[in-house]
């Protein structure tokens, strides 16, 4: 078993032993998405129009909720420094942690989004596009988020700092993710938006583990 899969497995096992932390992000997403139709009112046209934006912003915030714990507990108990010393190489292990974060905070949202979309009277094709856009787009949130989490490691008030660092970088993902659903609803077709989302995922998959590793090494040196 390579170090990468070992880290993914370890993080998933640890999360399953502390389910509240995983459920919190999912619950947050469900509650936010459920509150908006109640607040906006029952006008179906309005709901259909705002649905992609609301669901995507919800996903964005839910994914960010668990970011500050991405490296913090490993840093506090010394596991992170052992990872930095592992012959496997820290970059590979960081990539494993990011994949585990996505499995625990991004993937549940992909599965839940179509259910929540029904509240906004989205059509079947729009629901499908919503899920697909989340599937392609949420990895970017974990990938970019890991850089923010690594940079704010050991900093007091890190949670707020992460939001300030990471949210502006989430904007392109939000624009093209929500835009994909909007384009599908208006009949333009979502393929252009989805292609750009996929490109962003691939680029951040290449660059972000490397950047996170550099930031983690800085945190470990001090």
């Amino acid at each position: 078993m390579s170090g990468f899969t070992a880290v993914v497995k370890r993080d998933v096992v640890l999360a399953m032993r502390r389910k509240t932390e995983v459920l919190m992000a999912v619950f947050f997403f469900v509650v936010v998405a459920a509150l908006f139709p109640l607040g906006i009112g029952p006008d179906l046209n309005t709901l259909r129009m705002v649905a992609p934006g609301i669901l995507w912003v919800g996903a964005l915030l839910a994914s960010m909720l668990s970011l500050n714990r991405l490296f913090a507990s490993d840093y506090a108990d010394g596991t992170l420094e052992q990872m930095a010393l592992a012959p496997t190489g820290l970059t590979q292990l960081v990539a494993g942690k990011v994949v585990a974060h996505w499995l625990l905070s991004g993937f549940p949202l992909v599965v839940l989004a179509p259910l929540l979309g029904v509240q906004f009277d989205l059509s079947a094709t729009a629901l499908w596009t919503l899920s697909l856009s989340l599937l392609i787009g949420t990895p970017v949130l974990s990938l970019i988020g890991s850089i923010g989490a690594a940079l704010t490691l050991g900093v007091r008030g890190g949670e707020v700092l992460i939001a300030m660092l990471v949210l502006p970088l989430y904007v392109p993902t939000l624009v093209f993710g929500a835009g994909a659903v909007q384009a599908e609803v208006t009949g333009l077709g979502a393929s252009a938006h989805l292609s750009i989302l996929a490109a962003m995922t691939l680029i951040s998959a290449v660059l972000s583990p490397w950047a996170s590793t550099a930031a983690l090494r800085l945190a470990l040196e001090s």
Binding site: M1, S2, G3, A6, V7, K9, R10, V13, L14, R17, R18, A76, D77, G78, T79, E81, Q82, M83, A84, L85, A86, P87, T88, L93, L220, E221
Partner: protein, 207 residues
Amino acid sequence: MLTISNLSCDRGDRQLFSGVSFSISAGEWLHLSGDNGVGKTSLLRLICGLGAHTDGHIAWGSDVPQAGPASRSDLREHLIYLGHQLALKDDLSALENLMTHAAVAGQALSHERAFTALAELGLRGRENLPVKVLSQGQKRRAALARLLTSDASLWVLDEPFVALDTHAQAVLTAVMNAHLTRGGMVLLTSHQAVELSGQGHVYRLAA
């Protein structure tokens, strides 16, 4: 063989230590002593590659000393570091911690070897308890079991005797002696006198 030559380290404007030179060859141990805050832990972390030194060389094997982070990736494969933080996950059992640590480091480890290691350190019957219910001393034993499950030749141990009872201290000393007899190297810090077999000396770190 680990050779440290003329190493110095700064923390901000303050110089922590300078001109540190020593070497450890196969079968030798070195006891790093010094007052609190003199930089023992910093020096160990620096040797492991968890920090940047201001000046000097760290060389591993027969390498010619070179500037900068010399042959660190090579050293990493032959080194095991146990620091003040035990790197144990509270929600995992001692056995799971041991297996996971090996898997993450890319080492093959059989259940039998892990069980034997834990039993040798006196954790028989507690292998499957979550680490959070163990006492401080037992946690440290669980962390020390890593020494018995790894094939690293250089052991870098920061205060390994802390929190251990006299029996566990004797066991740990025996484990280190066995490692030295096999031709391993031990670099440790401790505030108490350490008596190990084989060639060894005390290096006193002073500001």
